[in-house]
């Protein structure tokens, strides 16, 4: 990936070379980022929705549904909003309807019903597509074309002038680390190389918004990091990035906001912080017999001691968020259902007074994967929803931005919460 390093070095050149207009758009984009962040903050707040400004959304969809022949209900009333200038992640299990939603945006699939706008125009407005770069999942470019010809062809289809194409193709190929392969036929490319060319293709028209369906599919870890860097760079230029991916950790690292789709509906949507705000906890990891430490906690009488109740469940956290402190043990740790630092201080003091050695204290929250697992878990059976959009999606599929749809959901065995960002290495 020395090419990418070179590409990074030439990034400024690349942006500059796209012309004054592009640079201007980028500068404007920076402003948009700020406003987008404000919007995201508003969304994250409890009353944010009412403050959102009309026209600030790159994507604003309401009640999108799609019924295929054979009565397969792929989408059952999806509401999605993507702010301009943000990186938005759409995730969900196989068959949840993610690709269907993206294809509706790109006019590849006709919705049964769709109300809303994409870049200010109604869904299905063809000229708007010139402002959107798209990388399809499992894309297959014509084998007889070289990497440069792929960009040239799709650039031409998008309406990019020949002179601009000629100027932009080598720069984009360099940006994605494919400069040396520019004149090799696509059929000789590995999957990861095709993916890189696909991303370059999506950027040919210098779009305002980029929609990437599984962009890291088949890409090695170094390549994934490069793609992440690229996405951040696009964001810094004010472009809106919409990613559809299974790689939750990837999304968590770059996305401002996420939506989790389950069985044709959006189960949850918002920033990861927003979605986990009521499920954070403190973990005090001790040495020695944790039962001793537990007794100390119980003697304090401050916490509603539930023994080992919380070790496998987020339900306790949810209850704690409702005002009751719960505590329990998990392996060698004591868990507290609160994210208030002051609440755990007496406990730390008591433990220390009893001579218990504290190895570390962590403030934790569920990871995106935890949220995902909560969303795809059937609360009635405790099992995972079956793949596909047919059938009932369960009462937990609310589509609400601000509610707490994960309340009372059990987390499956083996799930281990990640550390809250910024407190232990950071997850974002």
């Amino acid at each position: 990936m020395s090419e990418l390093a070179a590409a990074k070095n030439t990034d400024a050149t690349w942006i500059g070379s796209l012309g004054t207009r592009t640079y201007g758009a980028g500068a404007q984009g920076m402003v948009q980022v700020a406003s987008a962040n404000e919007l995201v903050d508003q969304v994250s707040g409890s009353n944010g929705a009412g403050k959102l400004l009309a026209g600030s959304w790159a994507i604003d969809l309401t009640n999108v549904s799609k019924m295929y022949k054979g009565k397969v209900h792929a989408l059952r009333g999806v509401d999605v909003r993507v702010a301009s200038g943000e990186i938005f992640g759409l995730l969900g299990p196989n068959g949840a309807g993610k690709s269907t939603l993206v294809k509706i945006l790109m006019t590849i699939i006709k919705p049964s019903n769709a109300v809303g706008t994409v870049l200010g125009n109604s869904v299905g407005h063809k000229p708007t597509l010139a402002r959107i770069g798209y990388l399809p999942e499992h894309h297959r470019f014509p084998d007889y074309l070289t990497g440069a010809q792929v960009l040239d062809f799709y650039g031409g289809l998008t309406g990019v002038a020949k002179a601009t194409r000629k100027q932009r193709i080598p720069m984009l190929l360099e940006l994605v680390g494919m400069k040396d392969w520019a004149n090799q036929a696509v059929k000789k490319y590995s999957k990861g190389m095709r993916q890189r060319v696909g991303i370059a293709q999506a950027l040919m028209a210098d779009p305002e918004m980029v929609i990437l369906d599984e962009p890291t599919d088949g890409v090695d870890p170094v390549g994934r990091r490069d793609i992440r860097d690229l996405l951040m760079r696009l964001k810094s230029q004010g472009k809106t990035v919409f990613i559809n991916s299974h790689l939750l950790s990837e999304l968590e690292m770059v996305c401002d906001r996420v939506a989790i789709m389950v069985q044709g509906k959006v189960a949850m949507q918002g920033t990861v912080d927003d979605l986990t705000i009521k499920q954070r906890w403190y973990e005090i990891e001790c040495e020695g017999d944790v039962a001793v430490a537990a007794r100390v906690i119980a003697e304090l009488g401050v916490f509603d001691w539930r023994g080992t109740l919380v070790q496998k469940s987020f339900a306790g956290m949810a209850e704690a968020a409702a005002g009751r402190f719960l505590a329990g043990t998990f392996e060698s740790s004591i868990l507290f259902g609160t994210d208030e630092p002051g609440a755990v201080q007496p406990c730390i003091d008591a433990l220390r007074a009893k001579g218990v050695t504290i190895r570390q204290v962590n403030r934790r929250r569920p990871s995106l994967e935890d949220l995902f697992m909560q969303a795809v878990t059937d609360p009635t059976t405790g099992g995972i929803f079956k793949p596909g959009a047919r059938g009932g999606a369960g009462a937990n599929v609310s589509g609400s931005l601000h509610g707490n749809p994960i309340a009372n959901l059990d987390v499956p065995m083996g799930m281990k919460p990640d550390v809250v960002a910024g407190e232990k290495g950071g997850s974002r």
Partner: protein, 442 residues
Amino acid sequence: MILMQTWAMTVDAYRELNTKKLFWITMLLSVLVVLAFAAIGNNDRGLTLFTWTFEIPFLSTDMMSRETLYKLAFVNFGITFWLAWIATILALVSTSSIFPDFIAGGSIETTLSKPISRTRLFFTKYILGLLFVGMQVLVFTTASFLVIGIRGGAWEPALFLAVPVVVIFFSYLFSVCTLLGLITRSTIASLLITLLMWFFLFCLNSTDNIIQSFRIANVVTVETMPARIERLEKAATSQFNREWIKKNTPQVTKDAELDVAEVRAAEVEAAEVGDAEVGDADNQGKQVAALPADSTSAVDVARTASKPVVVGTPPVPTAEQLDALNSRLKDAREDLARAKKNQRNWRLASSVSTGVKTVLPKTQETVALLERWLVDLADLPKPPNSDADEISPFGGANQAEVQSRMQTRIRGQSLWWVLGTSLGFEAVILAIAVWIFRRRDF
């Protein structure tokens, strides 16, 4: 924007074509065909191939100019056999994958995500698909144009009519192939079904040719039957009289001899215009049996026709002769009645056949347009005069006359019927295809 997109697709189509081996193989074969074409010629003895001469008087310069020979070779061999048959199959094999590949998962999504309407995308792709055949025909025709100009001495720009004609002909099949490709998404299925349809059209055309031939033969029979019967009666009378005169020669007067001479003259005339039946009867000397007239009227005709030029009582035919006459006459009447009755059936069959063909693409007629435009019938050597009494497979109708009328019929087909209705069929197929393409979720 539109021009830019169209040009991008054109360049892509060319690149795709360029990578297809079959395209270049077909092109190479086309060149070989033209070289073979240049190798032939004709002289006063017949056909020549390089320095060899094959004595085929029919193709000698006495019968046919070299220019006409080349035009005929171009139309009948170059176009009809090579381009509209072998090269078309190769072209279908090459192009049948265009739409299945185009709409394949992973491929179509990127294209559809561009700001170009599906209708325009479809038609641009379709027209560019015809590029394969267009380029093949253009190369072949240009080479043939040079060969005919250099070797045949005639520079005939009308040869280039082959380009639109063959492309239009191919487009009938390609439209079907496209629709099937969209429906089945399978190259093999669309190719096979298209070839089957082509075969069906070929069979339909052959059936129509047979039906039209029989119908024309029927018309010819009905039209010429009265005249033939009249001639037969005349001949029969003369035969009858000759027999009678022969038997009564001693009693013939001078006047009668003159009449005999008249009768013989009529006999010769009748033999010249008569049909096979009469000729056959004449050769075998079965004059009476050959009479196709009504028994009573035949006798009456014989009697009245044989004026009282002889002395004595005219001979009365025997019972056997009268029976034979009756039988023949009955057969003749039945034939006539059947012909008249069948005329309606043939007309109906012809109408049905023509009706079916009208709504389907007329592949052979389209290619035949070239011959119509390029080769004047007057330039062709006349076929040897067929014997008027030759027994034809068309129930007594003169074969040469039937063929002539068939030729006239084919050449008389209106351009609207040949091209208009075929293009109408293609338009319907394409409308269905684009409707599917526009509505489909990929």
